[in-house]
């Protein structure tokens, strides 16, 4: 399973998302779009959004900390 989290260092919901994934022992790639322009462009292309967090779970794009959607996409 491929899980990417597009986040910024200051974003509280990003921290919450990452805590949630760690609690459920889900490996993920953490991309800081506040500093990483390539990651920012990837996020913009995938979500059309310039707001974080954005998750890419096996190609399913989830905008914001939508716990129900994340749970469903991960099959938890």
């Amino acid at each position: 399973m491929s899980v990417k989290v597009f986040s910024t260092q200051s974003c509280p919901w990003c921290h919450r998302v990452k805590d949630f994934l760690r609690e459920h022992k889900v490996d993920f790639e953490d991309l800081d779009v506040g500093r990483d322009e390539k990651a920012r462009n990837e996020m913009l292309e995938k979500s059309g959004q310039m707001g974080v967090p954005v998750l890419d779970i096996n190609g399913t794009i989830i905008i914001g900390f939508d716990q129900e959607a994340i749970t469903e996409a991960l099959g938890l």
Partner: protein, 350 residues
């Protein structure tokens, strides 16, 4: 049996609930029986978890529904007005209050409540897909909080998340060395501007009134911040751009122009109470949609209490929300002590 008498049995029931499915889900159309609680708290912010902590101390079997665990306080960078903490982040404060509540056996459900209805002396709450997950509770504490008020001008919806934002802490980092505006004149707007000033090269505060009105300590900080400019007596009438925000239209010219070039707009013009669920059970709201409560956090509906930003209190802070949450828990405890409440209806059909 009073709530005092039931404390021990509630603790036992809570342990049983923690080790078994709490919410009865409809499977193949069958309902095994609906889990019952003394208190159902709706809302996962400071007020909700504070209520949960104290309900646990009272030995009440309690469930809390949180669509977003942590609530609005999560979006505050630095909190310097919560007694006991000279400085703490909103995230850390929210998590400390949450962990404190969980120590008392609070059952936490990360889901949105879709509906609340009265069933006899109790209340039924529906959540999950198609509202199929149900619980019953003898009392309900509404701690549903607020959502951002929209500017309601052309371009706002089109550019939301792509140049129009509502949380500087979340999205400010996208505007490193850019020019942005905060719309609003409150203390929150000033704090958002100060946060953005760390990233952006230029921050405008655009306010419709004569003078922005932050707390004096933040007003002084705004005045001292060289890259913040305040534009008073001005409305933003439209947000313009193509694939991204390029400028806003102003109803009063600024430096000779009714257009101000910007890369991003942050809206901070207050909040709207999320009181639809309270309305479903007949709770009286004021003109702003806030829930009317008394000094015990009681609403007009017996068994329904409210706390935090959704309540009709003037001063909305984390500390006041915590106090209201605790008061609501006490109100629920008192209410349950005064009478024996039996949730007679325990299946989907009644």
């Amino acid at each position: 049996m009073t709530a005092n008498d039931s404390a021990a049995s509630s603790e036992k029931e809570q342990k049983e609930a923690d080790s078994s499915p709490v919410i009865s889900s409809a499977k193949d159309g069958a309902i095994a029986g609906i889990a019952q609680y003394d208190v159902a708290i709706i809302g996962g912010g400071v007020a909700g978890y504070s209520a949960g902590m104290y309900a646990g101390r009272f030995g009440l079997k309690t469930i809390l529904f949180a669509e977003k665990i942590g609530g609005t306080i999560m979006l505050t960078d630095e909190i310097a007005n919560y007694p006991g903490f000279s400085m703490i982040s909103g995230y850390d404060l929210a998590e400390k209050i949450r962990q404190h509540a969980l120590e008392y056996g609070l059952k936490e459900v990360p889901a949105r409540v879709a509906a609340v209805e009265r069933k006899g002396s109790c209340f039924r709450l529906r959540s999950g897909k198609d509202g199929k997950d149900m619980v019953q509770a003898k009392t309900v504490i509404m701690a549903t909080g607020t959502e951002w008020r929209k500017l309601d001008v052309p371009g706002e919806e089109k550019f939301t998340g792509r140049g129009v934002h509502y949380c500087a802490l979340c999205d400010g980092a996208f505007y490193r060395d850019k020019t942005v505006a905060i719309i609003g004149g409150s203390d929150s707007a000033a704090k958002e501007a100060l946060l953005l000033a760390q990233f952006a090269k230029k921050v405008y505060i655009i306010y419709r009134g004569e003078k922005i009105r932050p707390e004096p300590i933040n007003e002084r900080k705004v005045e001292a911040q060289e890259n913040i400019t305040v534009i008073n007596n001005t409305h933003v009438t439209a947000i313009q751009g193509e694939s991204k925000v390029m400028h806003v239209d102003l109803d009063t010219p600024y430096e000779g122009s009714d257009s101000l070039a910007l890369d991003g707009v942050f809206v901070a013009i207050g909040h709207i109470a999320l009181s639809d669920l309270a309305k479903q059970v007949g709770v009286t709201l004021n003109g702003k949609g806030e829930i009317g409560i008394d000094r015990q956090a009681r609403t007009n509906v017996p068994g329904v209490f409210a706390a935090g930003d959704v309540a009709d209190t003037n001063f909305k802070q984390a500390i006041t929300g915590a106090a209201e949450g605790v008061t609501a828990a006490y109100g629920a405890y008192t209410y349950l002590n005064e009478q024996d409440i039996i949730c007679a209806c325990n299946d989907e059909d009644c």
